[in-house]
Symmetry: C2
Subunit: 344 residues, 2 copies
Amino acid sequence: MAPIRNGRHLYLELPIGLPVPGKTTAYDNSRTIDLENVTLDGGILIKTLVFSIDPFIRGRMRAPNVNTHIPALQFGEPLSSYGVGKVLRSENSIFKPGDHVYGMIPCEEYIIARDTVRLTMIENKESLPWSVYVGVCGMPGQTAYYGWKEFSAAKEGEVAYVTAAAGPVGSTVVQLAKSDSCKVIASAGSDEKVAFVRSIGADVAFNYKTGDTNKTLEEEGPVNIYWDSVGGETLETALANSAVFGRFIECGMISQVSSVNTLYPIKNLWQVIAKQLKITGFICSSLHTKYSAEFYREIPRRVAEGEIKYLEDREYGLDKVGQALVDVLTGKNNGKKVIIVADD
Amino acid sequence: MAPIRNGRHLYLELPIGLPVPGKTTAYDNSRTIDLENVTLDGGILIKTLVFSIDPFIRGRMRAPNVNTHIPALQFGEPLSSYGVGKVLRSENSIFKPGDHVYGMIPCEEYIIARDTVRLTMIENKESLPWSVYVGVCGMPGQTAYYGWKEFSAAKEGEVAYVTAAAGPVGSTVVQLAKSDSCKVIASAGSDEKVAFVRSIGADVAFNYKTGDTNKTLEEEGPVNIYWDSVGGETLETALANSAVFGRFIECGMISQVSSVNTLYPIKNLWQVIAKQLKITGFICSSLHTKYSAEFYREIPRRVAEGEIKYLEDREYGLDKVGQALVDVLTGKNNGKKVIIVADD
């Protein structure tokens, strides 16, 4: 077989605020790969099926000397994110052709992985669409599940306020909170998203762009558990409307991610003392060892049974990655944004 | 015996920012009391020995409809705070003349207490000065002890940064942190305070008014445990210099207490996620049931043995209460501010 195209989406320049497709990132189809003959050096050759678009990708677009939990992306290299692929060839005893793997992958159609320690084999006994394994059955679902189990201390009848509630993390949190018999207040950024959030069980759902977050929390709160994916002014409003001994689970601050010059100043942190709050920030991977086995036992089954629902926003082809990321950062996606790269 | 003076310090007006002695609070010596004949109605007559000046008193000077963990003070009534008194007469089977009691008391020389449920008998086997029981052996010491035990999760060699470290809470925290083999960075607001903090074991002590907090934490951190009594800009600096999985124990935000119009806006709360921090606000009384028995078993003994040291700033007479409170709120005290009202 002759060499074929191996399209990639590259990281080119540090964005100021939002990334700019074609400038800070760009699709590159100049490379080819000979699938039958390319040297693997003990690694595996993977055909990418799904590439996940998540807000954290923007967090990795930063000066390399700014140290956080995840390394900065390198200029001229492909973006990377979670993905699902199919093993085409293997020189590694753990993987064989036809296996499906999940993990952090470069944004390329075909990948040679020599370090496979972070790739997880996916059995998919439930025959779910592969894309689900980067959504409700992947990192976002794990983020929701791990964070809720570890930090919510949910009690029956407590009020949980979930932000970005139509997204893959938020919508899973809404359903876990309902499973724990909480009253769920949920916000999202469009009427369509709000309808979805209501359909999965939120007791109170509102469009934060047209509704009044403070008034809603005043009427429906106080908030015992705040699931924060947005930060900024919404976090301040949640502080003002929290119950005594409230738990704030800090999962993301997307309102702050692309607004380096206009970081929202929180002025009521004294509520932390007055209301004896517990605010915990976490990264999914830190809780992976503790919870991943029960997550994979429980969540794909509940998804397959229709007990846990999800919303997916699909695009086709790695050339769409740049705009898809902007959409996710500005809330223009409608559910979990995934790039379908190839059929199985 | 003829009636004698029963001086009181009254709360008169809502202060804007700092209280103003003589205006928002004032000493009143117009009342008298007949100690032998005053009706007790089943209560006890207490002679006040010590009245404690703590920052929380300012927190109670607020509009009655602002709801926090502690009720607002009433205009025209005496201030109240923790104190120690001696029982002169009793119509209550639990207390007898000569007993010493500790608890929240009105700011008066003589008190008739009918509701005694919140008064604790003090044995004082160690014969410590009574004033110690509103300081290192009272609420401030309990605040330090309970908060440290419950939230620090201290491990040997970790870095603890303690603010307001010459005060009764901070200085106790410094010593508990050293007992747990932490490296202690401590800040205080005068060179005299810094010298005291160094004398009780702080590894690094600096005057935050003349030193550079950020530079010190950069050089001596990162901070695993942050004991916050000040909030505002110092909290922001601690967020910037925290270690991954840092614990922030939010005990007070004195920089914000009297600055209603200039609340410091915290701009780097995203560090909570990036560094996976746990920020916990607490009020001493919420942990009292869990820890008070071990506190009274352990701390007065360690104080008597000289193992735990404290600094005390004494004034004599309830007429000094107004200015003493301003001093505490502006850091002009040198150690635990107490008003000595009478000898035993």
